[in-house]
């Protein structure tokens, strides 16, 4: 049951779009900064396989410029 957190940077002007797209994914919680163009993403996929799948989906989002991991926990 891996848990990760990231700083998610949207492409210019796409913060709202990225927020909506991430929030629509399973196992994702998103928190936008009020005064900066950045979001916090916390993922808690139930197993390693779904974690891999989730990461693929996130990386396909066109509104996402980059992700910076801030926390990682791999639980059996």
């Amino acid at each position: 049951m891996p848990v990760f957190s990231y700083l998610a940077y949207p492409v210019k002007g796409a913060k709202e779009e990225l927020l909506n797209e991430l929030a629509a994914l399973d196992h994702c919680e998103v928190m936008p900064a009020e005064n900066e163009e950045i979001l916090i993403l916390v993922t808690d996929a139930p197993n390693e396989e779904q974690e891999q799948e989730l990461q693929k989906k996130i990386k396909q989002l066109k509104s996402l410029q980059s992700l910076g991991m801030t926390f990682g926990h791999g639980d059996a």
């Binding site: 957190s5 919680e29 928190m31």
Partner: protein
């Protein structure tokens, strides 16, 4: 505890991301994070400024199940960058003392008995009405504090000055910061420092003037040490009257005889001129020279009056004035060697060194407090080391909102939130914002703090409301003022959180909400306004001091002036208050910004803070190319000719010792909060008198033995400390004032600076004997 391992890990993940974002984007705000409803038992971290000194450290308070359970430094706060002192780390424990006052008390048949809060508030309003009717509006007074949150002071000023029409508003900052204020006003025309704590990172030399920063401002002292550690060439000079922990951490400790800092400061200027270290480009363009009255007295008599008169002089007259202050002459007065005076002058005079001077109570609690503030500014002005990174004469504050509430809101008898009561324009502005007739605001100041308590003793004041301070421990020459408060026909209201010697003399005690139990703002030493939200619920019947004032104001018929709802009154007051400061010289940050960030420095103009005033590179109000001292009509900073004059009372054959009083690291002022924190109490469980080892040997006093100390006003018996954390020179003793069991202020003298009216707690004469 209702928390799963997984939810705990998710919380850690979230907090890590917030911390990382906060490091990358200072001031970043995640509203949703703050309001996230975490499971019971999980710690939620909320920002607040520290409750104690004027440094203004940012804290993160951990809350679980509506109780504050942990504290850590806020890494996003530029003041402390995540660091705290021992008081800060234990600060939440002040909320939970066993004898916390949670119910209103009213004295009935000589005894304080619990009553419903409404009954107590009704009685306060009724007594105010009766007193005004019988004795006039100037028979009621309020005495607050630099620990007042900004809305507390604002509501008090509006009620008393705007609505009731009396200028009987004072605060204990008169006892700690008034000389700094008059120093700023006389030298620059505007209050508060031109620099900021970033100066600590830029300076090459620090001179601390009578200032034990290692104990009183430990986080800032740590920042100085960190700068020295990283740069190696950085020097810290401790210039003081006794050896302290600050001396131990400094590169050089120079001791001077009490009061003679005046002479030494002049001697430094003499040396700067003699060695041709004057920055003439700066002086010719930005400085003018002035002298004032001399032999100005000490204010020890009731109704003492003094008004200074400035006279413009030229540089030649200033230079001639300094001829009395050669290092060799001053060595005889001060005990500081001519060589050390020349060394200090060379540090200030070296054009390649950035110099920051720090001071606090040593210079301010001084019968010539205004003058010594002026004289240190003189040094910086002669060499042009001011208003730029690392070059900073910096007056530190002792309390969390001495600047924010007392100096900026203006909770002193002569002040309004903008300007002074004597100024018609300032009265008109206040009347318009407060929605009161301008005639309500009396153009004459009434009583400064010492005179206010004298008026209480005389019976000129009959009703006094004390909030957030403990004058029955802190007033100098205390016996007179305690006896005055206890006289027949006096009515004392005390808003408090714990029983104190001040609540002992109360007729009504109103239970106050403390710090993070209510929303508010503080203003620290570097012009930084800091918001705190209400983080935990108020216990029992406790009530925010601001709301206590609003309740009483409404009972007095001022509903129109105090119309706010319980949900939004702090924001509403802030929005009203900042109208007083809506110019580029002092614009305050909007509520929303303050709520989101760990403090913002004013002037806040076009979304930008101001780190260095009077310098157009940083200050939106400054004009021209380099410096602009716009506080004075001539747009220049003023160098003052201020002589050395002796203390009000000096040792003699009958009372051969200087008595110096002050604080210790572990305790906050009178100890009413910190003595209830077990670890702080155990660290310093009681007060003591520091005695020089040679004096102790001569008098047969041993460490821990009892000593009787007597002045012309009173005596006290306490244990001796020899070679403890502080060591006074021969002929001086030092006593911390935090312990109400040992009321050292029954011994001190109520002499004050005639300009600032701030008492001198550092100098009076006593005798010592074995008890």
């Amino acid at each position: 505890m209702n928390i799963t391992r997984r939810s705990f890990i998710k919380s850690l993940a979230l907090n890590s991301a917030v911390a990382a974002a906060s490091t990358l984007f200072p001031g970043i705000s995640f509203g949703a994070w703050k309001s996230k409803d975490l499971p019971a038992g999980m710690i939620q971290w909320k920002k607040t400024p520290c409750r104690f000194c004027g440094t203004g450290c940012g804290l993160l308070v951990g809350v679980s199940s509506k109780r504050a359970v942990a504290v850590k430094g806020d890494p996003n706060c530029t003041v402390n960058k995540g660091l705290c002192c021992v008081k800060g780390y234990h600060s939440i424990q002040i909320l939970y003392g066993e004898d916390r006052i949670k119910k209103a008390l009213v004295r009935k048949n000589g005894k304080l008995v619990e009553v419903p809060l409404k009954e107590a508030l009704d009685l306060v309003a009724q007594k105010m009405k009766e007193t005004i009717k019988s004795h006039g509006k100037d028979a009621v007074a309020i005495y607050g504090s630099g620990q007042w949150s900004i809305p507390d002071g604002y509501a008090a000023s509006k009620l008393f000055k705007g609505c009731i029409g009396t200028n009987n508003v004072e605060a204990n900052a008169r006892l700690c910061m008034a000389s700094a204020v008059t120093g700023f006003l006389t030298s620059f025309g505007l209050d508060e420092p031109m620099g900021c704590y970033d100066d600590i990172d830029h300076a090459d030399v620090f001179v601390t003037w009578g200032n034990n920063m290692a104990e009183m401002h430990p986080v800032l002292f740590s920042r100085m040490l960190a700068n020295r550690q990283s740069k190696k060439h950085v020097k810290i000079i401790d210039f003081a009257t006794r050896t302290t922990r600050s001396s131990q951490g400094s590169d050089k400790s120079i001791l001077f005889r009490p009061q003679t800092d005046l002479a030494v400061a002049n001697a430094i200027c003499y040396e700067i001129i003699r060695n041709k270290w004057v920055n003439w480009d700066f002086v010719n363009k930005h400085v003018s020279f002035h002298k004032g009255k001399t032999n100005i007295g000490y204010g020890t008599q009731d109704h003492f009056k003094f008004k200074d008169k400035a006279e413009t002089v030229d540089f030649k007259e200033y230079k001639d004035f300094l001829n009395d202050y050669t290092p060799e002459n001053v060595e005889k007065i001060s005990g500081v060697s001519a060589q050390d005076i020349k060394y200090m002058a060379s540090l200030y005079g070296d054009p390649d060194k950035k110099v920051t001077s720090f001071w606090c109570m040593g210079m301010n609690q001084h019968t010539r407090g205004t003058w010594i503030n002026n004289l240190v500014y003189n040094i910086h002005l002669l060499v042009g080391k001011i208003s730029s990174p690392g070059n900073s004469p910096f007056s530190l504050t002792g309390q969390p909102s001495a600047c924010g509430t007392v100096r900026e809101v203006g909770t002193l008898t002569h002040k309004l939130p903008h300007g002074v009561v004597m100024n018609e324009g300032a009265r008109k502005m206040a009347a318009e914002i407060w929605q009161v007739p301008v005639e309500n605001i009396d153009p004459k100041p009434t009583y400064h703090t010492v005179e206010m308590f004298r008026a209480l003793d005389r019976g000129d004041i009959r009703f006094m409301w004390v909030q957030v301070t403990n004058p029955m421990v802190t007033m100098p020459n205390l016996k007179r003022y305690r006896n005055g408060a206890l006289k027949e026909g006096r009515f004392m209201v005390v808003s408090e959180i714990y029983p104190t010697p001040t609540s002992d003399v109360a007729d009504v005690i109103l239970p106050s909400a403390l710090w993070i139990e209510r929303e508010g703002f503080f203003g620290n030493s570097e012009r930084r306004t800091q918001h705190n939200e209400q983080i935990i619920p108020t216990p029992g019947d406790t009530m925010c001091n601001t709301w206590q004032l609003i309740e009483v104001a409404r009972r007095l018929g001022f509903e129109k002036q105090f119309p706010w709802s319980r949900e939004t009154y702090i924001e509403d007051i802030w929005n009203e208050y900042i109208r007083f400061h809506d110019t580029p010289k002092h614009r305050m940050a909007p509520y929303k910004e303050l709520k989101a960030r760990s403090g913002i420095q004013w002037p806040f103009v076009n979304g930008m803070e101001t780190k260095w005033r009077y310098n157009p590179k940083y200050d939106p109000a400054a004009q021209g190319d380099d410096f602009d001292f716009y506080g004075k009509p001539d747009r220049k900073a003023w160098i003052w000719l201020r002589p050395y004059e002796p203390a009000a009372e000096s040792p003699d054959s009958e009372y051969p010792f200087w008595l110096n009083t002050g604080r210790v690291l572990e305790h906050w002022h009178t100890g009413s909060m910190t003595r209830r924190v077990p670890i702080l109490h155990r660290a310093v469980p009681e007060s003591y008198v520091e005695v020089n080892p040679d004096d102790a040997a001569r008098l047969g006093i041993t460490n821990g033995s009892k000593v009787k100390m007597t002045s012309r006003r009173g005596s006290i018996i306490m244990k001796a400390s020899i070679n403890g954390r502080g060591n006074p020179p021969k002929g001086m003793v030092f006593v911390p004032f935090f312990d109400e069991k040992y009321l050292i202020n029954e011994v001190t003298l109520d002499a004050f600076c005639p300009i600032s009216k701030q008492p001198d707690y550092k100098k009076c004469a006593v005798k010592l004997e074995r008890a």
